[in-house]
């Protein structure tokens, strides 16, 4: 990572800059790595992580086509609320998961960073779709406007590829995120049903 210069696009990588700042030992008023609670207790941490993983509230951040698949995920057929995301909060201050669904361009970049900063810790980011991962179909030679990947702006936890990914794909991304938070894929033991459909 570093500066992205291609054609007319020159984007300073925010995440790289923050990393460099931390390495230099500057205090920085931007939190990249959440240091965690002051007092640590293993059982309490496990319980809190279990609770957090099972009630991730996403922020409605649909930018383009992937937003429709994210909406489908919230609807009756694919139903994200059975995995804990009962509500999609429009306000970043009330959410803890930011699903970047769609293309981020130069004009939108500052809004993305502001919204990320407004979310309270602990917070996670899922980059949904090829545009959020690497610019997708718009990362071409003559690119002058599209940021090639939202991880040039904010730290990303899970990448969900697809153009657009199916709602089940995004659901898999959320399960992976739960695994990242708690260490176990689906924290509650489930009865294995052999012929059940995948969703």
């Amino acid at each position: 990572m570093g500066d992205q210069t291609r054609g007319k696009l020159n984007v300073h990588s925010y995440a790289a800059e923050l990393q460099a700042r931390l390495e230099r030992g500057e205090p920085g008023n931007l939190v990249v790595h959440d240091p965690g609670p002051l007092v640590r207790h293993k059982l309490a941490d496990e319980i809190f992580n279990l609770c957090r993983a099972n009630s991730l509230w996403p922020m409605t951040f649909g930018l383009a086509c992937c937003a429709i698949e994210m909406m489908s995920l919230g609807m009756a057929r694919f139903d994200i609320s059975r995995f804990g995301s009962e509500v999609f909060r429009p306000s970043p201050r009330q959410s803890d998961l930011m699903i970047v669904a769609g293309t981020v361009n130069k004009k939108m970049a500052s809004a993305v960073m502001t919204l990320y900063d407004q979310m309270p810790s602990p917070k996670w980011v899922i980059a949904m779709g090829n545009c959020a991962i690497s610019g997708g179909p718009f990362a071409v030679e003559e690119n002058y406007n599209v940021i090639e990947g939202v991880d040039k702006l904010i730290p990303v936890d899970v990448y969900v590829p697809g153009c657009p990914p199916r709602p089940e794909g995004l659901l898999e991304g959320i399960l992976k995120l739960q695994e990242k938070i708690t260490g176990v894929r689906h924290p509650f033991p489930q009865r294995k049903i052999s012929d059940a459909p995948s969703y």
Binding site: T60, A64, E69, V140, P164
Partner: protein
């Protein structure tokens, strides 16, 4: 109580207030991230309490350089882009693009392919109107209808996914036809869907149309007169809600529309309720079109003979289709060769949204949300 808006600016003059606003005015920023699911639209509002003094949309948050990319790609490489401009109803965008190349280069399309194109485009129109219905009512605060409309959508998306391979951003049409043929299973499932959908209108009418709260929120709100529509170039259900029966499928028919029998629903007052009724009736008309097309479906190939390298003539051409949101026009200039010299894409939501500054003067903020919702905007199509 309506505030008197100063009329010393002329109608086209949409300069946001550069000077200090009056004592009780303040600026409110709506977007680019907001709970309405239109995409990334930002509206700068100068407000006086709950009334909008001036609404100035700020675009560009979804600009993805489609017109620039068209100058560097041949038609096959640009097809995925056409699916991603208006992702809710992508097949008419495919259609306009390939039909433009077919007309310019003189390529024959087999009859079966034309029928498949119309059937899938109309299914896509139904899908798009359902998405609009759910999102519009969600904007107004009704959380239940969106679950029903998305369920209907899923029925159609299953049918279309089997034949096109995608749920959303279709890239199914090719110059000369469509890339994959439909089979009996498709026809059977589509007929079952038509039957099911006709029964669903009952559900929507009971749940929404007769609802007194909905009527009070939508009737008389966001009135676009016919004269205003013409000055802004408004097309689509927004225009038809204002009483003008303009539909490319009847006005400048293309593909097999001349052989199909359907009506163009229009409204009378041009308010949000009329636009809602027009779209519901359009779903019914689309069902009629699909039924007739399935009855008349001929046998034959689904893709005509197309040369490997498609040579465009020296000159320009345009092609207009009726997309779900209005008139979509592609204009292409070429100097020979495979790659266009210039492709201009005229999208319907662009002109539809441009009425917002004039529409939004002196109305309540909640009414502004209703008007924008009833116009059925998709912002990435506006920003291209």
């Amino acid at each position: 109580m309506k505030i008197a808006v100063e009329n010393n600016r002329n109608r086209a003059d949409l300069v946001p207030a550069q000077d200090v606003p009056l004592d009780n005015h303040y600026y409110l920023n709506m977007g680019p991230q907001h709970p309405s699911t239109h995409g990334v639209l930002r509206v700068l509002l100068e407000m006086d309490g709950e009334y909008v003094v001036e609404a100035q949309p700020v675009l560009g948050y979804g600009h993805r350089m489609q017109e620039k990319m068209a100058e560097h790609k041949n038609w096959m490489a640009f097809m995925p882009n056409t699916g991603r401009m208006d992702y809710a109803a992508a097949l008419p965008y495919n259609h306009g693009f390939v039909a433009l190349f077919e007309r310019l280069c003189g390529i024959e399309v087999p009859a079966r392919a034309e029928y498949i194109r119309v059937i899938t485009s109309e299914l896509n129109r139904i899908v798009s109107h359902h998405l609009w219905l759910g999102a519009f009512l969600l904007d107004l605060g009704a959380f239940t209808p969106i679950l029903y409309t998305f369920d209907d959508r899923e029925q159609v998306l299953d049918i279309l996914e089997d034949v096109t391979g995608s749920r959303l951003t279709y890239c199914y049409f090719r110059v000369g036809g469509v890339c994959r043929d439909i089979d009996d299973k498709f026809v059977e499932r589509t007929r079952a869907f038509i039957k099911r959908q006709r029964e669903r209108f009952e559900v929507y009418n009971k749940l929404v149309t007769g609802n007194i709260i909905f009527i009070k929120r939508a009737e008389g709100v966001g009135v676009i007169s016919a004269d205003m529509a013409m000055r802004y170039g408004v097309t689509g259900p927004v225009l038809r809600g204002s009483g003008i029966a303009y539909d490319i499928r009847k006005n400048e028919p293309y593909s097999i529309y001349p052989q199909l029998d359907f009506e163009i629903p229009t409204g009378t007052n041009g308010d949000s309720l009329d636009r809602y009724m027009v779209r519901l009736q359009e779903i019914e008309q689309s069902l009629r079109i699909i039924e007739q097309a399935l009855d008349q479906l001929p046998k034959g190939p689904c893709l005509g003979k197309v040369p490997k390298k498609l040579k465009l003539p020296n000159g320009d051409g345009s092609f207009a289709v009726e997309a779900a949101r209005g008139e979509l026009t592609y204009y292409l200039v070429s100097g020979g060769g495979e790659i266009p010299y210039r492709l201009k894409i005229r999208v319907p939501s662009y002109s539809n949204l441009s009425v917002l500054p004039e529409l939004g003067r002196g109305i309540l903020l909640a009414d502004l949300v209703t008007s924008m919702g009833s116009m059925d905007l998709v912002i990435p199509e506006i920003d291209r």
